[in-house]
Symmetry: C2
Subunit: 556 residues, 2 copies
Amino acid sequence: MVQTNSVVGDLDGNVERIRSVLDQVDGCDLAVFPEMTVAGYPLEDLVLKPGFVTDCRSAVEVVAGSSGSCALVIGFPDGAPKGSASGGVQNAAAVCHEGGLVGVYHKRALPNYDVFDEARHFVSGVEPLQLYEIGGIRVGFVVCEDLWVADGPVGGLVEGGAELLVAINGSPFHRGMLAEREAVVVATAASSGVPVVYVNLVGGQDELVFDGGSMVADPAGQIIARAPRFDEAVVIVDIDVTHVPVAETGLPVIGVSDKVDRPDHVVATPLDPLDPLAELYGALVTATRDYVTKSGFTDICLGLSGGIDSALVATIAADALGPDHVHGVLMPSRYSSGHSVSDATELATTLGIDHRTIHIEDAHASLVGLLEGSLGTVPTGPTDENLQARIRGVLLMAHANSLGWLVLTTGNKSESAVGYSTLYGDTAGAFAVIKDIYKLTVYELARWRNAQIDGPVIPEGIISKPPSAELRPDQRDDQSLPPYEVLDPMLEAYIEGDLTRAELVADGFDGEMVDRITQLVDAAEFKRRQTPPGTRVSRKGFGRDRRLPVVNRYSG
Amino acid sequence: MVQTNSVVGDLDGNVERIRSVLDQVDGCDLAVFPEMTVAGYPLEDLVLKPGFVTDCRSAVEVVAGSSGSCALVIGFPDGAPKGSASGGVQNAAAVCHEGGLVGVYHKRALPNYDVFDEARHFVSGVEPLQLYEIGGIRVGFVVCEDLWVADGPVGGLVEGGAELLVAINGSPFHRGMLAEREAVVVATAASSGVPVVYVNLVGGQDELVFDGGSMVADPAGQIIARAPRFDEAVVIVDIDVTHVPVAETGLPVIGVSDKVDRPDHVVATPLDPLDPLAELYGALVTATRDYVTKSGFTDICLGLSGGIDSALVATIAADALGPDHVHGVLMPSRYSSGHSVSDATELATTLGIDHRTIHIEDAHASLVGLLEGSLGTVPTGPTDENLQARIRGVLLMAHANSLGWLVLTTGNKSESAVGYSTLYGDTAGAFAVIKDIYKLTVYELARWRNAQIDGPVIPEGIISKPPSAELRPDQRDDQSLPPYEVLDPMLEAYIEGDLTRAELVADGFDGEMVDRITQLVDAAEFKRRQTPPGTRVSRKGFGRDRRLPVVNRYSG
């Protein structure tokens, strides 16, 4: 199982990534790579570019040319773009061996829900099924969704004589997803009576993070090998395969390689599963690292307010990129409390990151003066609160522009949901690290991180003080929002659960609060449409998962 | 033909819109409304909310209850959300008559390309076809895409005895689309031998604008009635229908209403088609008006730089909302030329819009001072240029926040393509009016608008001077970009044409320039992802049409 971190569009780099592990799989019968290995995933509308698909085919031929006695299975887009005369692109698995392309399987089940748009980009495979005899074993290949659908190709492959099933996957992380995946892999192995090899992509791509966690299940329903989460890995495992006699109704079999005697049985080292917060933290670190580095950057900056959100994001960034590559900017205003500055400074010191302080008072006064001249009055209320947040956004972006950094934003999902943010202010930046993390989970992650061996890193004062935006005197989140213990579950029921207001009330939420909060969520759609991408870790993040109109009067 | 401007999610309003025209169609046999009449279109993930679909069904029942002897055909989402036990939502047409729901047709062909995602939201209709006898005529109904596909339901309806075909549509505008639509409608009528009634939605919805232009084609291939573009309308037309004997293989027919003698034959007034620039200008005005008003706003503000882009947007806004609702803000810096201020002032005066001037020098100096303290040097180059643009963005947003206005942005497609804009600066705002208009077309539209009866409105100086961002001394667009006569066609070939660099060079574009410009386009994807929605008027706009990854190393 070769769990790689392919980069979208980096065909040369992805080919090199494949070739660089060939030494390690030398002597194996089969090396299985993830879905879209040579292209990266998801490709989105790159697939509609005919020249891109042609280039991917060439990349596959380079890989095939490098293959030896170990058969390689790699993913790629195959065909001509949809709508063209030749019928469309397919999501394909290529089988390479001894310098050549032995065969290609085309994904049949195309997911077109949640974050997936495969019906836009691909056409389903329709060719008759076939098997490949590799190391003397008849192997059936499928791609990702094929394994999840009731009427997929698995039944046909097994009835047709497959002795081993191999699935290549680009299955993104969300909380609880590994257990769902394992259940499907185990059930497939148990019901079909043949072992299942499941190889998943790893790494971040825009809003998605792929968690790896490749595995092998045996027909008894045991997971006999696991690859690490969130890291590239080559995991070698010998699989005991029960020989199945060739049936009369057998599928055509492409001969690839004969059985090789293997006196030494390789048993993969079992890995402890990650606890849910470790897994979640790992997802955020991986996604942040990959967004920054795959974009060609090394360093980030962020505003340090002294609050919990920016503290957690700074910590994630330091873990992802190294503290030397993280730059904190403290930007106190007349409303910032003394402890905010001292808490932020303490955090920066503990993390060992560069930090600087810019008092925004001068710029604030200057802009207020200009506005007073135009508006005839000094701006107050939300106008003035937004002004402070936007000055900070301008200063951070100027640092990024001047020093070649990316800006990370620090808003959480609770805030993003109700629109408690300033567009072009605290939402300004390249990547929104915790945009899919509700506030209560922000606290859980901070406490979890502090409990690690090198902790605590986040000062207790930051965790224990009441949350505040500090944009007016003595402001506190709970002056305008219900406590997060009430708010977060309501938001989850409305967003992830797609409940209407009436259904929320029926579920026991207070009617007046439901009206107010759902109105806030609906009205903030225009803001979310202009915020940066950020890691999706829930079943329904804001972004590719939840595509609502901006102009939308439905209030049900 | 009842061409309505439904509002997404406004079920009560849409029902009222339908009921308000019932007086006008009294005495007709059939009133045809657009696709998704009661719900608005496109609904995007609203369709995934079970309660919403239930509410739409109730709205249809209210309309049905209001129906009389004139049968009504209205569009709505029918069923239960996809993935649920009951199988999914369908894009439906309801036939209502004499207080009841007589029948429902479910769209079979679901577009899932360009701006359409119907495979995400709907399942295809699979029920056997049927006809409705209305006014003694056997009528077959289809929905939009059904008419465009070779293996759609039209053949079955006609073979089964349809004497009239009726299509309800939500077909968005792009340049040249009306001719494509007419060709399909005419070809369907001619090849099937029965008249075709085509009713289209009108109005703006987020990035899309629906242009109406409903029509009737007779079997001779003539368009015998046309509804206006971009306006709501009720167009009454008598259609001569040739009686077709019932075939042995006829479809089931639901009896709705009998033939009524009509001594007076109503002939729709023929409308002159719009010239291409009038049509395009109409699309921009409609989209702007609807985005602002459907969002619940009345007034907009925008920065007036003295350049052609902001001049055109101000003019469109004045035409869309009335000059009293448009507020121009001049924000000169040390680099603004004298003619910029005088040109912008002359424009505002001619348009009759409110305008004010804010010199940004103080705020600029103040922010430069803060940055110098942190960076150890005065910001220069792009950092300083962006700083000026962002100060303007902050000032405009403060006006919008304080006075309850929306900000319109003024960037064109050429700029958006190559990233010649400042994120959170000139891209900050609610709606990007001309984001899908290349610079050369900006000039064409300005000249066209000046040639109208109330023109000229845009000062000639604005049209004739060389374009400049005025963010450094003597800056001009052609210092860093090729002339727009070269740039725009290359961008169109790369963006709309999906050509690779090699293909562009093969088409005669200069290789070095291709490399530079395509790199700029690719690198600006992160900016476009955070810019506001704006009207799509081309075959491939930035937005729903062109969904590229942000992290993307493909440079082919």
